[in-house]
Assembly symmetry: D2
Homo-oligomer: 392 residues x 4
Amino acid sequence: MGTMKLRLGMIGGGQGAFIGAVHRIAARMDDEYTLVCGAFSSDAEKSKEMGLILQLDAARVYETYHQLLESESRLPPNERVQVISIVTPNHLHFEPAKLALENGFHVILDKPATFSLFEAVRLKEICRESGKLLCLTHTYTGYPMVKEARQIVAGGKLGEIRKIYAEYPQGWLSRFEEGSGNNKQAAWRTDPSRSGIAGAMGDIGTHAFNLVEYVSGLQVTKLCADINTVVKGRKLDDDGAVLLKFSNGSSGVLIASQIVTGEENNVKIRVYGEQGGLEWQQSDANTLKLMMIDEPVQILRTGSAYLSSYASHNTRTPAGHPEGYLEAFANLYRNFAQTIKALLANEEPSPEHLDFPGVDEGVRGMAFIESVIRSGQSDVKWSEFSLKYEDN
Amino acid sequence: MGTMKLRLGMIGGGQGAFIGAVHRIAARMDDEYTLVCGAFSSDAEKSKEMGLILQLDAARVYETYHQLLESESRLPPNERVQVISIVTPNHLHFEPAKLALENGFHVILDKPATFSLFEAVRLKEICRESGKLLCLTHTYTGYPMVKEARQIVAGGKLGEIRKIYAEYPQGWLSRFEEGSGNNKQAAWRTDPSRSGIAGAMGDIGTHAFNLVEYVSGLQVTKLCADINTVVKGRKLDDDGAVLLKFSNGSSGVLIASQIVTGEENNVKIRVYGEQGGLEWQQSDANTLKLMMIDEPVQILRTGSAYLSSYASHNTRTPAGHPEGYLEAFANLYRNFAQTIKALLANEEPSPEHLDFPGVDEGVRGMAFIESVIRSGQSDVKWSEFSLKYEDN
Amino acid sequence: MGTMKLRLGMIGGGQGAFIGAVHRIAARMDDEYTLVCGAFSSDAEKSKEMGLILQLDAARVYETYHQLLESESRLPPNERVQVISIVTPNHLHFEPAKLALENGFHVILDKPATFSLFEAVRLKEICRESGKLLCLTHTYTGYPMVKEARQIVAGGKLGEIRKIYAEYPQGWLSRFEEGSGNNKQAAWRTDPSRSGIAGAMGDIGTHAFNLVEYVSGLQVTKLCADINTVVKGRKLDDDGAVLLKFSNGSSGVLIASQIVTGEENNVKIRVYGEQGGLEWQQSDANTLKLMMIDEPVQILRTGSAYLSSYASHNTRTPAGHPEGYLEAFANLYRNFAQTIKALLANEEPSPEHLDFPGVDEGVRGMAFIESVIRSGQSDVKWSEFSLKYEDN
Amino acid sequence: MGTMKLRLGMIGGGQGAFIGAVHRIAARMDDEYTLVCGAFSSDAEKSKEMGLILQLDAARVYETYHQLLESESRLPPNERVQVISIVTPNHLHFEPAKLALENGFHVILDKPATFSLFEAVRLKEICRESGKLLCLTHTYTGYPMVKEARQIVAGGKLGEIRKIYAEYPQGWLSRFEEGSGNNKQAAWRTDPSRSGIAGAMGDIGTHAFNLVEYVSGLQVTKLCADINTVVKGRKLDDDGAVLLKFSNGSSGVLIASQIVTGEENNVKIRVYGEQGGLEWQQSDANTLKLMMIDEPVQILRTGSAYLSSYASHNTRTPAGHPEGYLEAFANLYRNFAQTIKALLANEEPSPEHLDFPGVDEGVRGMAFIESVIRSGQSDVKWSEFSLKYEDN
């Protein structure tokens, strides 16, 4: 295992798209993939240009994702693309993902999974039916110290979990950026027709939510949300705070904002149990703070020999040589690849390889978005966290 | 001004009482007071012992606070105590404060102001009627960098405020300490007959609340609280989170917990406006982080020449020689003393001297406690922040 | 013990003197002293003014230190001053200290001990002859976490010590402040007739040196210094770095500078042994970083129950309520007082009380100054650390 | 530019070799190279295995580097390798680099450049004669905030530089690892026949030295070194400290150690000028601390719009998404590639592209090693920093 590269195709990710470039670096980092085809833009010319930049075979740079999926399906199995990365805005997640799966391709999908919970639930069914795999790129759970945090909680070291704080403060939408005409990111992320019913809660709230459930192993059962649109003229929420109740009776707070001026991307989580607590934040991503009752705080560091196999497996350099966001992203790609390769080899993927977010996380993320927006509009304090959706 | 020491008496603060010792250090720090009398314990013997330790004139160590106030009132004006520090549990705040004020003494009162909002409102009236001053020891607003934060906001540098986060995480009540029989602090603070209707929210929630209103200059108008008693057998809340709405339409989140295992006393506040944000936390108390949009973050430091008169006035050492909790506490004592001395000299106290929390903050703090507990029990999402109280 | 206040007198410390005010706060903090007399300035009028501010009995505010020592000696034993604090510039350390000791008073002396090594050695003899005690105010060894560091090393936890780094970077003399005419501190500290042969090395190099020997329990045996005067017109060194060799064969580096623009007072020490290392710095004074081989770094914090008696004894507040520079300074005063009181009571002082810097540290500090300046002028690499002095 | 991949070959970097894997990730990160051939190990079998893992054409996996260079030279120009990465131990740097250059290939060379200064000087001549380029992988100067630091100094913002501190503390050789038989890294790095005359000074001292000269733009002219072998049985230095003098008359301190137990890889630099100072350290690699006199410290952050083109050019993600060691390494590869491509296109490389360490830095690094070891053995304090070498 490890010696064969998976053939990767990309939908979306034309020039100027932030996340497309990140996906490509992540795919290259560990040499598990080779990019063979793409439909990079809804503008055929732009797609072609990107194909040139990426030195792809021009015949495999497509004008639309339909073309891509159709044409690739007709190639011989040993040439044909194997994994499709979808890095388009949210309204263009479901349809290409569905087609890709139905055509027998594995899918890597940018978060949040879909435009609506309805779509996410459908996507899950399609996954099951297709027998193909889906990886949802919740970057932060790719960090080795986040994986270590999950292992510590799962191992019972903290005792029963009693409190969770998660926050994702950003300042980049502090002004009416979408009005500037030259901020593509801001434009689509604040546009309900492309983002869905949520802005900040969809973009970064789901990251915080995923982090909470991943690290704690608990599920949110009820929530109470304060959802705000702070910047004048904006069409979607840009700020929110959510009180949470979990499956074991414990509680938490989730904060996500894109208008807290001066903040960067310092996503942070704190989890407390009866015996101890832990803290991780992206601004010091290679550190995990472990606070056991009556003991000195311990500083666990990426790359150290005392860490679990989950942390070690997702690390490339010795302690003190920081790994960052791109490495965390690449861990998702690598684990997904290694799982696929195991399956191709009729082997059991290791639990470390299987440790990537998938369609279940996608469904829960979309349920979070819909529950949280609904709660924000409600006068009742506690809303159920619900997988029920409007059929549309 | 500055050359005369005020005569101080103390009610409460016997041996083993944490906060009594802190008050005494604060009173001594800047040589503004001389401790002349006390009723240190409801146990006469213990009161006497503490008087000995403090080398007080035995005749002025009293068995009860009634005795103290009565006897001192009969002393000649130039011997008689001038300021009474009350450092008893909450149920013993109102009565001695009332008597002290009515007997013509200024009062320094530990927080929260009283046992109930009803008492606090009464206390405010008594203050007014007596013409005497009251200082409420919300320690954290005594820190120079918290004062600087308030000045920055007040000066408009951040623009209109849009979001506030405050948190006070503690772990010291992670276990059922009050059951141990040897933790006096835990015993009274978790006892409704001594603490009032709130535990964590009364003890530290009020600190966070005071910090929020002090720094932002805004007032909470509505709130939505999740209030929990996490540790089995405990009689009062030990954990909570509150969504806030402010007078200018902005919103915030306030977190206070005493069961987040491993945390110390890292009270923290973040305030964001249209133009920038700021952050302060007690674990790095001499630093104020100022985040102006599009600019590098600035690290403002206690003792630096570029700070406002409010910060400078409350600092004793050059930048880099850290001042801490006791100095912050002492700033309250010093500013209160300097205000009293100005009045005694028929002078106008400077705004820097007048910058200490008083009975108004006490009333709002008690309103916070009652509003937050009420909200915690309500199924309605938003409760009014209300100064209305039950007459009891 | 603890119930009697020691009568304190002060030599130096007039208005505008930074360190005099610090000494007075330190003396007041724990109620171990009562200031009864002073000769605060060589200008009789200014001394009188300070006496008024401090509300001293005018009869005990003296024009000169000779007067003070003489007059106080004639007072009845139970009125007479017991401890003399000397907070004058270096050239005025030896003579008043000598007289104070010879007149039967204990002495608290600001660092460095004297103007020259010759004087320091003499002072040690006088101490011995007088039977009186001397406390040298090397502030940083008063910090609880510095004491913890010493205990950790002494307990052998780190194994044999192999490397020590100490640094004291300051920026306050980055410009020619002494030329401004209004910076008293800069004026005398850069004046050879008042400071002695060293500037930065005497003022802060000795602090770093003391910290090194205190924490490690080792003694410097050889050194190699690079000593610089960076700012034009300055008469003494304002910058230096020293390679060190220790009694056990290990080595170290000591850095002290007053011209590293932008730095405050972040004195820092790192000590490494075979089994682990530790790090402390003033900017995070309540934290001690303990790095044991193959283990997560441990963060030890002031006020925690797991600390040694030496740390606990020197702490006033619970973990998370930061103590700072003034508390560290006050620890010296308190331990000195408690030692004196034990002696007065014919009791053995506890080792925690005896843990303050004295005349031996003073002698070594002056030997450091003379050795380091000599080495700075030498072309030979390694100079002996020598207690030999020029008789003058 | 940017659309053609350079064909890369690798010498060294078999399984278990730490730095070989890092080079390969760096080469892949930005899609500037495609690995086409290698001689990965002196053991032909192992070389073959690595070729399989990397999915190389078996015909281009060679048994020796001689074979590689010879065979590749005979391939048609548009197939032939273009750039050779040399990632062998130091004693195997010069010969393959020489041959590669002479055969018309560009060279990427791991640091330190060679086994001896003699070789480095020769290599520089060979570079010049060959007209080919050489990139020396001093990783830390690839960090965007290190580049920003250099630009700030070069722009004069700090004024004349007066003091520089650099340190590289590591703990990984705290024990006699080379005796364990299973630590390949430790084995060759402590072996004079493979590493050269220096251990720690060659491995990490040169990194610190390079950082100093790169950021400051100054050159070391004299030095005074304390060089130690702390761990028993070790054959090369594992610890050292060096006093530095620079071309403009200023001074500095350089610390490098591999036996400071508990330390990771926290290389750090501080540079101070008349007007301000700056600080960077790898443990917080995306932050540059700028300390201007009389102003609040500024925290400059990777990815921010206010940074220079040099920082921006070397960044892939928005502020707050940390980039780390691998990205810094990849910056070297990318800039080298872009420079080569510019030359191939007969274009002028941009100054940002040209900003990578080359053979000149290699010569100075080897001069540093020889000067520092010589000084360590000398009784004279100051040794000249010298480019003179022993002919061997």
